[in-house]
């Protein structure tokens, strides 16, 4: 029996101790008409060998194409030590560290993670992770409404250039609680937030301004001026950042005169494989004054009865298992193991290694953009500096071009037609430190070939 250790003799002895004739008798409180006879729609079981063969065949069918898609999930090298360490059963198969004395390894790791993330973002406190980047933005909006007591409006300004899936998740999550959202347009020249459009909100009561840096197009925003503008209107600033970029870019804690108030983002670039979208981890940091409004688990340092230092989950009065209906969020299980991956990744990279990853990614993206825009019919859309992603325009619909590239084992980027139809045929491309010059050349020649037949026609 897979994963069930009972021998016939064990079973007999156990039933005798219970005083039941057979296992079926243990279900005698379930009304007979509800009892299930068979599970005919579930296939029969497979041996480990059979299932691993099946999975290997399915994996092979997906292949290992050359990936130039970013859009919120980035292919970075993950040091081998990251997953060999967190795959240890003591991390992999541990429970949430509610029993602090038996969980000091996980608790101390979370404390170290919190320290690293607070410093990376320039803030004072971090939680122990949220689900992913999108849910972190949604939680930040809900938190801002609790934290900004000066605003009565429960109204948030969301840029159109925020990751469209973050926008969608934020709406799904927060509309049920009566939050309102206004959309801020981007400029067609630079791709950054339009200051002119902001002025429409002068004199309006709003809770917070969301700023994504770099934004969905990869474009660098004027975060100082935006932050000061929001603060002058007594709104909070929610920064949405790519953690890798913070090796080079000003941390949100230093934006403008006072710094952002809540910082969130997708932790995936820090040691999490692409893995079709998860598991990743969302991160959230803030100022000490807002810590009691923060959702999710938080670890604190303390001492035991003998005065020895140790760690435990703290400020639990914010959480669902204590406060129930009055909790800051319903979040319980989060992304512990992925947060561990992030911690290992940051420990191995350090500030200098992370700078190298960021700078190398910028270099490869520049090379990629240069190589692709050299092809006739391809041009760059936005003039502003970008981090490691850029929007390119094609002279024809993108989808068939991407299909042709896919046939050659190249994932050429994300088609923006479904998200930003106003841009015309446009493509979001990305190259991290994992893309060599040969990879970039392979993409360029495949693209130039894909674009050729139509021109000949």
């Amino acid at each position: 029996m897979p994963f069930i250790p009972h021998t016939d003799e064990d079973e007999r002895e156990m039933l005798a101790a219970i005083g039941a004739p057979d296992i079926e008798a243990l279900f005698d409180e379930i009304p007979a008409n509800l009892r299930l006879q068979t599970l005919q729609d579930v296939p029969a079981g497979l041996s480990e060998f059979e299932v691993l063969q099946l999975m290997a065949a399915r994996a092979r069918a997906d292949g290992r194409p050359l990936c130039f898609i970013g859009a919120g999930a980035y292919e970075h090298h993950i040091p081998a030590a990251v997953w060999s360490t967190i795959s240890r059963g003591e991390f992999y198969s541990a429970y949430t560290p509610y029993q602090a004395e038996a969980s000091q390894g996980t608790l101390q790791s979370i404390y170290e993670y919190q320290s690293m993330m607070a410093s990376l973002t320039g803030m004072q406190v971090s939680n122990a992770s949220l689900y992913d980047g999108a849910t972190a933005v949604a939680e930040a909006c809900l938190m801002a409404v609790r934290a900004n007591r000066r605003s009565k409006a429960a109204r948030i300004l969301l840029p159109q250039s925020l990751h469209p899936h973050y926008r969608a998740v934020t709406l799904t999550t927060a509309l049920n609680q009566g939050l309102m959202f206004d959309t801020l347009p981007y400029t067609r020249e630079g791709g950054q937030l339009s200051f002119e459009a902001l002025s429409a909100h002068d004199g309006q009561d709003f809770t917070a301004l969301v700023i994504q840096q770099p934004n969905f197009f990869g474009v660098i925003e004027e975060v100082d001026a935006l932050t000061d503008w929001a603060h002058a209107r007594e709104a909070l600033v929610i920064a949405v950042v790519n953690p890798t970029s913070l090796a080079l870019l000003k941390p949100p804690g230093e934006w403008g005169a006072k710094g952002a108030d809540i910082v969130v983002g997708e932790g995936q670039p820090l040691g999490c494989p692409l893995s079709s979208g998860g598991p990743y981890f969302g991160f959230m940091t803030t100022r000490m004054q807002h810590v009691r409004q923060m959702p999710g688990r938080i670890v604190g340092g303390t001492v035991d009865v003998d005065g020895r230092p140790g760690f435990s989950l703290t400020l639990q009065a914010r959480e669902q298992h204590i406060r129930r209906a009055k909790a800051t969020s319903n979040i319980c299980t989060n992304q512990g193991l992925l947060m561990m991956a992030g911690t290992l990744y940051l420990a191995l990279m350090g500030a200098e290694g992370l700078e190298r990853v960021a700078a190398s990614s910028m270099q490869h993206t520049e090379e990629l953009v240069h190589a692709l825009t050299a092809i006739s019919g391809v041009r760059r859309v936005f003039a502003r500096p970008v981090f490691h992603e850029a929007v390119l325009a094609l002279d024809r619909p993108v989808a068939p071009v991407l299909s042709a590239l896919a046939q050659r084992g190249i994932q050429g980027g994300l088609d923006l037609a479904g998200y930003y139809p106003e841009l015309g045929p446009a493509l979001l491309v990305c190259a991290t430190e994992t893309k060599s010059s040969a990879d970039i050349q392979a993409y360029a020649s495949a693209l130039s070939e894909a674009l050729r037949p139509a021109r000949a026609a």
């Binding site: 299930l36 598991p279 703290t314 209906a325």
Partner: protein, 495 residues
């Protein structure tokens, strides 16, 4: 076995100029980063460790040794289903093609992956008796959010705008009322009778034109099967409300009875409980949701569809499901967790799944019987245990001053993770114990011996229990100090 004592912080290993350089990419050879405007660049480096690969590896390996885990210890943790995490599931999810696949990759580079997800949806429908399944919610509470949001969307679509009350039994998980609030609803508690079943009179009095639905766990958090579930369903449906099934306890009934057949309209499943994906020290989980026919149009996005023959698998989005509650996750869900659950279900097959429910229940009833034989008091001795059961220590607490917390902490000394304590809230000094089907009789017997020793110590040497644990890296921690003098991040060595 004594665990190692304190391990210093990773920051304390740091030396300026050290680094895991072999793991870093080469220095950039162009000045691409110079395009960043000067005033938007970082001026001071973040406080990250400067350590060698060996420093980091040794540090985190030592930290791991301070943990309990399934791989090292028995976790009789009620309502958490801490069963063995089979390694084949991990091996399959870590295949390089799966790990390297971008979430927005074209579907022609994902037919293998999507086939697994589609078949997982189908198997989950079959074992729960629901009509549709969405896999995207990232944890149990996230699935709860999806479920209640669907209930709200259903009522809204019927022009039924006043329904904003969610009924929860007294013994519900904390996430249930918290979820009701997250969805803009009001949680309303309903009493549980002395036999552990919902008080039907109280329920009849609670439902009405404001009832959006009821959230139930069955078997309940009291470790007993709600016998009058069909009447409960009738009362709620008649009042116009829907029934939400909290799948935290699905392990108890896997292959034996299905929530869909009990009358539930929506269910979340904790794949990290019932379907054996690892808890990872607090996640990742996966909280797939299943629905009855009337909620099909409202499922969260995206969902995997199978079309044509030979089959082509693709994602369904807003266009195909215009009434959906929308997107809940950046991408399609915790794919790596879903693959692990898929492998687990394929290995078990239909027979293996029945055995999960059967042996989880056998283990719980055996442990309950043995612990009562040695003198512990069950909260519901007249009832069958489901896959878990509750002991109450109110007598020992009154007579010897020994609390549930004392017993829990002493168990840690004796090499067992503590059961769930002080939950559910309505039983005083309680331990909620769930052994799961993957533990052998011999492990359960060893646990009974440890509990017998604790019972003896309660009579002879209660101080031993008040002071526990004695054998772990730390003893009981000062939680008040942790919350009062907040120390949430390393500040660097004092200058």
């Amino acid at each position: 076995m004594a665990l190692p004592l304190r391990e210093k912080l990773i920051f304390e290993y740091s030396r300026p100029g050290r680094g895991a350089r072999g793991q870093w990419p080469p220095l950039a050879t162009s000045a691409a980063a110079d395009v960043l405007p000067e005033q938007l660049r970082r001026r001071r480096r973040p406080l990250l460790p400067e350590v060698s690969e060996l420093d980091a590896l040794r540090h985190y390996t030592r930290l791991s040794q301070l943990n309990f885990s399934i791989d090292t210890h028995f976790y009789p943790l009620g309502s958490c289903t801490m069963k063995y995490n089979p390694r084949a599931c991990n091996a399959a999810a870590l295949l390089p093609e799966f790990l390297g696949r971008h979430p927005l990759a074209p579907i022609e580079h994902g037919q293998g992956f999507l086939a697994c997800l589609y078949e997982l949806q189908e198997m989950l429908k079959a074992v729960t008796g629901m009509r549709g399944v969405a896999l995207s919610p990232l944890a149990g509470a996230h699935g709860e959010f999806a479920g209640v949001a669907m209930i709200r969307a259903y009522h809204r679509a019927h022009g039924d705008l006043a329904r904003d009350e969610i009924i929860v039994p007294q013994a519900a998980h904390g996430t249930n009322p918290a979820t009701a609030t997250m969805c803009g609803c009001v949680a309303r508690e309903v009493a549980v009778g002395a036999d552990g079943d919902v008080d039907l009179e109280a329920l009849r009095a609670a439902v009405g034109p404001k009832t959006a639905g009821i959230m139930l766990t069955n078997p309940s958090t009291l470790g007993v099967f709600e016998r009058r579930i069909e009447q409960v369903a009738g009362i709620v449906h008649q009042a116009g409300g829907l029934l939400y099934y909290d799948g935290a306890n699905l392990n108890a009934i896997l292959g034996k009875v299905r929530p869909g057949d009990m009358g539930f309209d929506v269910i979340h499943m904790n794949l990290h409980k019932t379907f054996s994906t690892p808890h990872g020290g607090g996640g990742p989980g996966a909280g797939a949701v299943g629905v009855s026919a009337r909620l099909l149009p409202f499922l969260p996005l995206p969902i995997v569809a199978r079309e044509a023959e030979p089959p082509i698998y693709r994602w369904l989005g807003e266009r195909e499901l215009p009434q959906s509650i929308g997107r809940l996750t950046t991408f399609g869900g915790n794919a790596g967790v879903l693959l692990r659950a898929y492998v687990y279900m394929r290995m078990l097959g239909r027979e293996g799944m029945r055995r999960v429910g059967e042996y989880a229940t056998l283990n719980a009833n055996y442990l309950s019987a043995r612990l009562q034989q040695i003198g512990f008091e069950a909260a519901y001795p007249q009832r069958r245990a489901s896959h878990e059961f509750i002991l109450t220590l109110r007598r020992i607490e009154q007579e010897r001053g020994v609390t549930a917390m004392d017993v829990a902490k002493r168990l840690l000394d004796l090499g067992f993770h503590a059961p769930t304590t002080y939950f559910p809230l309505l039983i005083s000094e309680c331990l909620l114990i769930e052994p799961t089907e993957t533990e052998s009789k011999q492990t359960l017997d060893a646990f009974v011996s440890a509990m017998a020793q604790i019972l003896r110590e309660a009579q002879e040497d209660p101080e031993q229990l008040h002071g526990a644990p004695h054998q772990l890296p730390v003893r009981r921690l000062d939680d008040v100090r942790a919350a009062r003098e907040l120390n949430l991040a390393y500040q660097g060595t004092a200058a």
